[in-house]
Amino acid sequence: MADLEDFESIALPHMDELYSFAYYLVGEKQEAEDLVQQTLVKAMENFDSFEKGTNFKAWASRILKNLMIDRHRKKTPVSTDFESREPAAEEVKSPRSSTEILENEELMDKFFSDEVKSAILDLSEKYRVAILLNAVHGLSYQEIADVTDSPIGTVMSRLYRARKTLKEELEEFGKEFGYFRSEEASVETDE
């Protein structure tokens, strides 16, 4: 059983990772911040159930994931007030050529990041959770299974399908901007 006095030293170093996880789960900065804050509060309230020495990231991610699910269940339909949304990546992308982007590494990374975010948000929730727990936190299959209350086989299947879907979605972008060599980037079918 963990002591609340240890919470700061155990939890805060993982805040960035929790934020990354939240951000790619919900796709929006403000909502990600809210989720992280709620997660920290709930984690503090339930810290006596955390076993010291075990993986805090996994434990907190489970809280965050459940909070996200609860929020989305309660959410009312989004209004169509387009002016209040964050500008979409397409609004910046169109005037620039591939060459111009390739010459600016920071811009390229930003574009790829936007593409990745878009592709991840297109995944269904279960696949998104699985791929993010792996890509952000580096959790093992068993840890992901514990966080999501799923069998390991299901975790492996979700990871496989999520990765396959992401590769398909990102293939064109990757070929154009050199993330994948074009002759190698084609998605192979399983034999």
Binding site: E8, S9, A11, P13, E33, S140
Partner: protein, 303 residues
């Protein structure tokens, strides 16, 4: 193993989820099959890029500070209340007199001033870097001669240098290496230069007790990162420095300790870390996982 079967295990291999036997089977196939090997490399690149991208999304500094403050306030408040209730519960004095009120006020003030500024990070990174130099060289001889502290007792060496490492001196481990037939000679201060600020450290030097004229030395360098936050540029610089001199790389996770091993034909280095961010090790491991495993298999078979 055939291609179809090897491809079933590719992701598990990349995720470090295979047992040793299966690991070797798949790697052996990759060594002889160009097609599967190329696919492995592509998947590795893709996963690395994906991880790198999602992990690069960071919160604003203002948000970070707000959360840190919120956590500190809540944990301090609860800690104080817990101690007060515990104190009164033990003494069955839950009545509100002016005297008790005053005592609580003093207690609150005391705890506030002593704990509010506290920011102990129990998972600070303490790293060891070991180098094994094969053969007797002038450098080794000088190394033995230059030791500031001479002792064969690891605990004495730790007590001598660790106090300068501030709060987490108890995390530092200096192995005795007697099982590997090395004798501790002593130690000296040794810092590591990085782009913006040096990393303070010290080194423990051992000599191999093999009775031969040709001597092997091992040095374990301990770096204190507690008060240093390595930003991505500094970590990149450290990583490049390591990879420049190495052909291979491997990550070993014993459960308590994570160890990164790297080297070339003439040198074997180890980096023993507690609580280093997983993604850092995984990124390094994925880069040369296949080659490093092969390297250590070959070394093991040579003896």
């Amino acid at each position: 193993m055939k291609c179809e079967e090897a491809r079933k295990y590719l992701y598990a291999l990349l995720d470090n989820e295979l047992d040793t036997e299966r690991n070797l089977e798949v790697l052996s196939h990759l060594n002889v099959c160009d097609r599967c090997s190329r696919r492995f490399d592509r998947e590795q690149v893709f996963l690395e890029k994906l991880s790198e991208t999602v992990q690069s999304e960071e919160p604003d500094e203002a948000f970070r500070e707000r959360m840190e403050q919120m956590v500190r306030e809540r944990t301090t408040r609860r800690s104080i209340l817990k101690r007060i209730f515990s104190f009164f519960r033990r003494r069955r004095m839950i009545s509100s007199s002016l005297f008790l009120g005053g005592a609580v006020a003093i207690l609150l003030g005391f705890f506030w001033f002593t704990t509010a500024g506290s920011s102990l990070q129990s998972n600070s990174v303490v790293q060891h870097m070991g180098e094994m130099h094969r053969g007797f060289t002038q450098q080794n001889q000088d190394q033995e001669a230059d030791l500031a502290v001479r002792t064969s007792d690891p605990e004495s060496l730790r007590r001598r240098f660790a106090p300068s490492f501030n709060l987490f001196r108890n995390h530092i481990v200096i192995p005795s290496l007697e099982d590997q037939r090395y004798t501790l000679l002593g130690g000296q201060t040794k810092n590591v230069s990085l782009p913006r600020s040096p990393l303070p450290g010290f080194v423990a030097v051992y000599r191999q007790t093999n009775g031969e004229e040709k001597r092997n030395y091992v040095s374990h360098q301990v770096l204190d990162l507690q008060n240093t936050s390595l930003d991505s540029a500094q970590f990149q610089s450290l990583r490049e420095e390591i990879l420049k001199s190495s052909d291979t790389f491997r990550v070993v996770d014993t459960g308590d300790v994570k160890m990164v091993l790297w080297g070339n034909e003439n040198m074997l280095c180890s980096f023993v870390a507690r609580d280093v961010k997983d993604e850092t090790l995984r990124t390094w491991a994925k880069n040369t996982y296949r080659q490093s495993l092969q390297f250590f298999q070959e070394r093991a078979s040579r003896g």
